[in-house]
């Protein structure tokens, strides 16, 4: 069997599947073989569904053979974060409390992928209830980073990040409330796209914080992220936060030309207290974009100084409202860290919450004003390199800082404002990938994707990937 197949992207595999050069069964077997080889160490999966996947692959093969090719995703194996509902299948949300929960409908994103002919082969590990960024799950075991098994893969969609990076799935989906797509994407050296709030339906996704939650693609390439966005985007009356705005042919419209592009840099917030290795990689990427004809323009967004307060209050309060009954009735079933955060959310005041929403409004207007002057904003995705599993303190240039406070410092504003944001790897430092974040104006994901596409073409990673030969 050719396990190398599983290292390819959707963009590479789809034409081969369409032209019958590769069979969906052969591809699914390659992905499953990688799971057999690596998942014992990485622990990216809560559940592997081998038989179901092979049956689905056989069906895709039959359809393609008989001339009924459905499009780019037909016969592509995908595993999704275990927070998205599949009809009549368990969805644990990475929790003990929902261990036996069986969904009775498909999430909208799952329906769309099923219609596109995706082959599903498992459910991915995550931080319990998506309420954290380490994926050190007390119930299903810690997920490890394929780049270094002693490090976290980030979270909460850590299983998605690790599975894509270790070729145990061709692509995946994550959810993002404070950075949970972009953080593992940065930590695992892959692409993670959080679209504009309302662009992709959240119907059938267990909530963490209604007003901050997003679903988005986690992929090997920018093309794959663009492709998944055009399949998954669109208005859904079942999601009250869905927005009726036209989507585009994002993958077909990708354009690497950045000549004349204006890149905004908010130095006082997004470049403050950044690990020098991370900063150096991001500055290098910016210089490369300048060489291609982009222009750097400093911007000021003063309300970012209050973003941490607004993010902390909004996420803790909404999450604690969602989990209140279980916190009262069966608190011992939560992991220690999640239980603690749920207690914190119970202590916020109504005034804190309303002020946080006012701050969000102010941020919306300040970001909109910034995007009148610049096309995109660029920053590091994380201020540090992925830390060891179990560490609650991160070292940033000799300063010991709280992991929880630092981890969402640069990603949280994208959730507060709902603006599209993408993390793309821009280099490797001390053996770990560095992520660069691109933010764009509301519902203009194409701008973010085009800049990412230009960066991808620069090959800043120099072909470096997680070394899977050391994992056994």
């Amino acid at each position: 069997m050719n396990r190398e197949l599983a290292a390819q992207s959707i963009g590479e595999l789809a034409p081969k599947l369409r032209d019958k050069q590769v069979s969906p069964v052969e591809l699914t077997q390659a992905v499953l073989a990688n799971i057999d080889a690596y998942n014992g160490e990485i622990n990216a999966f809560i559940r592997v569904q081998k038989e179901q996947a092979l049956e689905s692959a056989r069906q895709a093969e039959q359809e393609i053979q008989s001339g009924n090719y459905r499009g780019f995703l037909h016969g592509i194996p995908m595993a999704l974060k275990d927070i998205l509902y599949f009809k009549d299948e368990p969805a644990t949300m990475g929790s003990k409390i929902h261990e036996e929960f069986i969904a009775d409908f498909d999430a909208t994103v799952v329906s769309k992928l099923k219609l596109s002919g995706v082959t599903f082969h498992g459910k991915l590990n995550m931080h319990e209830y998506a309420w954290g960024a380490t994926t050190t799950n007390p119930h299903y075991g810690a997920c490890k980073n394929p780049w270094d098994l002693s490090k976290i893969p980030g979270g909460s969609s850590g299983g998605s990040g690790a599975a894509v990076a270790a070729n145990m799935t061709i692509a995946s989906l994550g959810t993002d409330t404070g950075g949970s797509i972009r953080i593992p994407a940065s930590s695992c050296g892959i692409i993670g796209l959080k679209p504009t709030h309302g662009r992709i339906s959240k119907y059938g996704c267990f909530p963490l914080s209604w007003s901050l939650d997003h679903i988005g693609p986690m992929t090997k390439t920018v093309f794959d992220a663009a492709l998944l966005l055009e399949v998954l985007g669109g208005y859904d009356p079942k999601d009250p936060t869905s927005v009726d705005r036209p989507t585009q042919n994002y993958s077909g419209g990708l354009n690497e030309d950045v000549k004349g592009l204006v890149i905004g840099i908010e130095e006082s917030y997004f470049f403050k207290n950044v690990d020098t290795r991370v900063n150096e990689a991001v500055q290098n990427a910016l210089r490369q974009l300048e060489k291609l004809g982009a222009r750097i323009e400093p911007v000021r967004i003063p309300s970012l100084a209050q973003a941490e307060f607004a993010e902390l209050v909004t996420i803790t309060t909404e999450a604690s409202a969602i989990h209140h009954d279980n916190l009262v009735k069966q608190p011992e079933k939560f992991g220690e860290d999640v239980r603690f955060l749920l207690e914190v959310g119970e202590l916020m005041s109504g005034v804190d919450y309303v002020q946080s929403q006012q701050i969000r409004r102010k941020l919306d207007l300040e970001f909109a004003a910034a995007f009148e002057k610049v096309d995109v904003l660029i920053s590091p995705t994380l201020p540090f390199l992925s830390p060891p599993i179990g560490d609650s303190i991160v070292d940033i240039n000799g300063q010991a800082l709280s992991f929880l406070d630092e981890v969402i410092r640069f990603t949280g504003p994208g959730n507060l404002t709902g603006l599209p944001a993408l993390s793309i790897p821009c280099g490797v430092r001390d053996g770990m990938p560095v992520g660069l974040q691109i933010m764009g104006p509301a519902f203009q994901e194409e701008k973010v994707l085009n800049v990412a596409y230009a960066l991808e073409k620069l090959e800043l990673m120099k072909g470096q990937k997680a070394d899977l030969t050391v994992i056994r």
């Binding site: 009356p237 100084a305 941490e308 307060f309 603690f340 202590l347 002020q355 929403q357 409004r361």
Partner: protein
Amino acid sequence: MAQGIHRILEERGIQVPEAHQEMLAQQMEAVQQLRNTVDNSQLKDFDMALTHVPGGERP
């Protein structure tokens, strides 16, 4: 502060492990520091902009 926090949570029916009491006090001190970054006079013109769809979502 730890005792006050314990009492508030207990009144809401939430049992707080002993190990969490001091941690919660520290966390709420950190929250208070963040509260101090908020200048309410700068916010008074901003609608909180929560939106509801009268009549529910589109059928």
